[in-house]
């Protein structure tokens, strides 16, 4: 499809990625490919990551195909997408609101493509969906924190957040309220991410991976993706190096934190 778009002169590139390391995790989750041992770290402390599996190498090789525009980390690819540099963008649904407001062309949303020859058995990993607070504060502070969390979870605020950003509504009550006002009929683009989740099943891989110091591992994998897509490094070689470094992070974590 990307090839057709370029040949037709519609855009200079076919597709790009937002949060590349995160999209790679999604590519693993949908066809139920584990990213780490211990059932993705859910049954015990993970000691080994599988980014360099045959599957991971296939994904990176596919991305190296010349129709993919590497747009940078996090949300960096959004601007060139809005400018029409490439035709499709695989991005977090949290960008939908902002992109829809900015584009000057008709925008449609679709499921994240799955690697050829694999089936969509698991759903997509959901990210960003939690509220955190620090421990060790006085009780009245937690009273205030609790009230603030309740405020954030109110249907009204939840709807505002969903409509403005594209993030999932956090409760069924919000979904019902949105349906009642016909939001999804008028804005079918905001529905796609829901349908995509519902199209998959709850599999071990679909729950996402649980790793010690995951933040730095994601940075390591992100650099490996750039090495493969930008710097022309062989995908297997780039991922092998990333896995070796990540496993050291996991070993350090296990040595300190234990089970």
């Amino acid at each position: 499809m990307s090839k057709k778009i370029i040949d037709a002169g519609m855009a200079r590139y076919g597709i790009s990625l937002g949060w590349p390391a995160w999209i790679l995790e999604q590519m693993f989750a949908m066809p139920d490919q584990l990213l780490a041992d211990q059932n993705n770290g859910r049954d015990g402390l993970a000691t080994e990551v599988y980014f360099n599996s045959d599957f991971g190498v296939k994904v990176l090789s596919k991305w190296q195909n010349g129709v993919l525009f590497y747009g940078g980390r996090e949300y960096a690819a959004n601007d060139p997408f809005i400018a029409g540099e490439f035709a499709r963008l695989a991005q977090s649904t949290s960008s939908l609101g902002g992109i829809q407001k900015s584009v000057q062309f008709d925008l449609g949303t679709a499921f994240l493509p799955i690697l050829d020859g694999y089936e969509r058995t698991g759903y997509n990993v959901v990210g960003g969906g939690c509220l955190w607070t620090m421990k060790g504060k006085p009780a009245e502070d937690y009273e205030a924190v609790w009230r603030f969390f309740q405020f954030l979870s109110e249907v009204e605020q939840d709807m505002l957040w969903h409509k403005g950003t594209g993030y999932f509504p956090a409760s069924n009550a919000t979904v019902e309220a949105l349906e009642a006002e016909g939001w999804f009929e008028q804005n079918p683009n905001f529905r796609t991410a829901f349908d995509q989740i519902l199209a998959g099943n709850d599999t071990p891989a679909a729950r996402g991976v649980l790793l010690g110091d995951f933040v730095i591992i994601r940075d390591i994998v992100g650099a490996a993706i750039e090495d493969a897509l930008v710097n022309g490094v062989d995908p297997k070689q780039a991922l092998d190096a990333a896995v070796e470094e990540s496993n050291q992070v996991l070993a350090d974590y296990a040595a300190l934190v234990g089970e």
Binding site: I216, D219, E245, Y253, L256
Partner: protein, 293 residues
Amino acid sequence: MTTVFPNRILPYLLLAPSILLVLVFFIYPSIQSVELSLYLVNRVRDVKAYVGLENFQRLFESDAYLDSLRITVIFTVIVVFSSLTISLALAVGASQPIKGFGVYRTMLIWTYALSPSVAGVIWVLLTDPAIGILTDVLRHFGVVFNWRRGQTDALIFVSMAATWKILGYNILFFLAGLKNIPHEVLEAASLDGAGAWRRFWRMVLPLLTPTILFLLIMNTLYAFFETFGLIDITTQGGPGRATEILIYRLYLDGFRSASRIGLASAQSILMLIIVAALILFQYRFVSRRTFYQ
């Protein structure tokens, strides 16, 4: 001129705030870094284990770290060399008796007033591979410049931005240095038949050496430590690790990661040693050729 204090305590009292600041914000963290460099630490779980010099050993065995060192050397050489030469040329130009000198001077030192992140945003907007104005101009001349898709382009890009950012600072010192050169000396040389070029190479440049030495050291420090914000706003060390200079790597390990603060502390100690050695070297070699009036 000596200042006479009424008693012996007052001068120390007046110095106390600065000393306190240095102790709390420089000396104490430095001691902590030395201690942390000997530990494996998890910040989030708040646990640590003594590992001796393993952090240092890991750094020397890590290709990524040695690569970062190599990139830092290239980056520093480019930034220091180009910022010194360009700013000297501009300062010499601006110090000529021309109309509107004040306006030029302000415009030239403007960049120094910008914060690194603002400078980064300006350069991102100028050179964005898809929507940048400068990229578009370059494209008309047949030059494809894309710092998101090329290691060399990325390194050139951050070097340019870093150089541009420090120009104002250098120009300020060069202008002051040029003003301090006695007029009579240059006039005498002129009467002896020395042309403008000769006067510059034989008189102006040697008399500027104290300023050059000072700026050489300051610019090296700048390239090593103060370019963090710029990198973070623009390339974030990428693509791959093409612009991951030492200070940025230290930030990733020390602040993004929860488990590498020991490694980051070891890096900060190594950086201190490298920079101290470099400055000592510059001081030794350049000060031999430095003329103080």
